[in-house]
Symmetry: C2
DNA sequence: ATAAATTTTTAGATTAGTCTAAAAATTTAT
DNA sequence: ATAAATTTTTAGACTAATCTAAAAATTTAT
């Protein structure tokens, strides 16, 4: 079975929406995510249902079948492994790789991805801290990972991921040195707007509530 | 300007046919090369002509415009650079890379290919000995390159390329150790069928006329 | 120079993916 | 519970790329 790029992108979209909402994915949500029209989604979803990749009932939304889920996870594996390659081997910055990985993820060859993974020493996380599923589809777990907004004053953590992966946010973080692996300590929070002072690399910086809500850290139990 | 995978494949086919025949490329030839039907070729060729990528006159065949030529060369550059990557970095054999490179060559990002080339130390030839055009479209030249069938008895040469790149032929060569960089000496030729005895790595082997006609060697002027 | 064979083009259909506009179903508000 | 708003589906049309069958042009053979 070989699927088109479009089918794969639908499955990936349904996967990520389902895992955010934990319920049937609506036509409108898919349309918005894929920047297409709801009527197009209805058509495609019927096609995917015929191929047993999604479960679909009129007016009731869509979920992935086991088969559809496997395919989606595989594409995500491809995407993230390519992102690692682009950053680690070709020197791209983390905000420059997503669009190219969107293309590379559709290259059809399991052998290729296995060799790439091996070439890259079987990475468990991509340049944005997102877990890379293994060949069997299992995602690595980050222990004790919480949002920066969820840890208390005087507590320390290591940046291990971003919830929002937009290029704008990634570039902002780059500028503030808030990159993966960096250690931070929450110094204080301003009641006014819930912005926080952090200590990072011996410097003190202030970041907004927005930023705190989108940075994933691993708590350091002192 | 961004072209579809199909358009790119047509341009590449026209490029390679034109450079073999040195005259307008016929509808049937393109159809055969791309495993499609002549009527489909006519349609596509009209489209390419409208986009100024080919010069086309009804019943008179096709040639590439400067613009079409540039695009074709660029795809070939992509293809060959990816083949180098697959062999050098991922350990593929030279008969295993073509199909994957056929997919990878269509990834849209000039930046990516430039970085790949740099990562691979700007290779001038691909794993089959074919020259890789540089960014400006210039192909490297192999000096003194001739077919093995064209050098005389007692003469020596180094294998630098293959005229036929079918997997069957590549696998045959692999088995006989007739791989790029190997030195050979022509020991004798049998009048009966023009097969030849070669000395390679201190062993004596016999190869057919067919093989001689498809191996490119650089003559060693002793 | 005509006829036969071959090549190329045209005409009309098909499939994947998309769109707009309108109809139908569902959800939300009164 | 009815009406209003929203969501989803259907109907019909479009583009890219392909195909088959038939017509037209070109080339080759007699
Ligand atoms: Mn990405
Ligand atoms: Mn990522
Ligand atoms: Mn190749
Ligand atoms: Mn090659």
């Amino acid at each position: 079975m070989n699927y088109t790029k479009t089918e794969e992108n639908y499955l990936k979209a349904i996967f990520s929406l389902y895992n955010k909402e934990n319920k049937e994915v609506s036509t409108n949500m898919i349309a918005e995510k894929l920047k297409t029209k709801p009527s197009s989604v209805t058509d495609m979803v019927k096609k995917l249902a015929n191929k047993n990749l999604v479960k679909y009932e009129k007016y009731k939304g869509v979920t992935l079948t086991k088969k559809g889920n496997n395919i989606a996870i595989n594409i995500i594996r491809n995407h993230r492994i390519w992102e690692v390659f682009l950053v680690e081997k070709l020197g791209y910055k983390w905000d420059e790789v997503h669009e190219i990985a969107e293309q590379l993820e559709h290259i059809k060859s399991d052998e290729l991805i296995d060799r790439m993974a091996e070439f890259l020493d079987n990475p468990k996380f991509d340049p944005h801290g997102d877990p890379i599923p293994d060949k069997t589809g299992k995602f690595a777990e980050r222990k004790k990972a919480v949002l920066l907004s969820e840890i208390g004053i005087k507590e320390k953590g290591i940046i291990v991921g971003v919830k929002n992966t937009s290029n704008d946010f990634l570039q902002y973080l780059e500028e503030k040195s808030l990159t993966l692996g960096k250690q931070i300590e929450v110094i204080k929070e301003f009641d006014f707007d819930k912005s926080r002072n952090l200590s990072i690399e011996n410097k003190l910086i202030t970041i907004s509530k927005e930023v705190c809500n989108n940075l994933i850290v691993e708590k350091i139990i002192a």
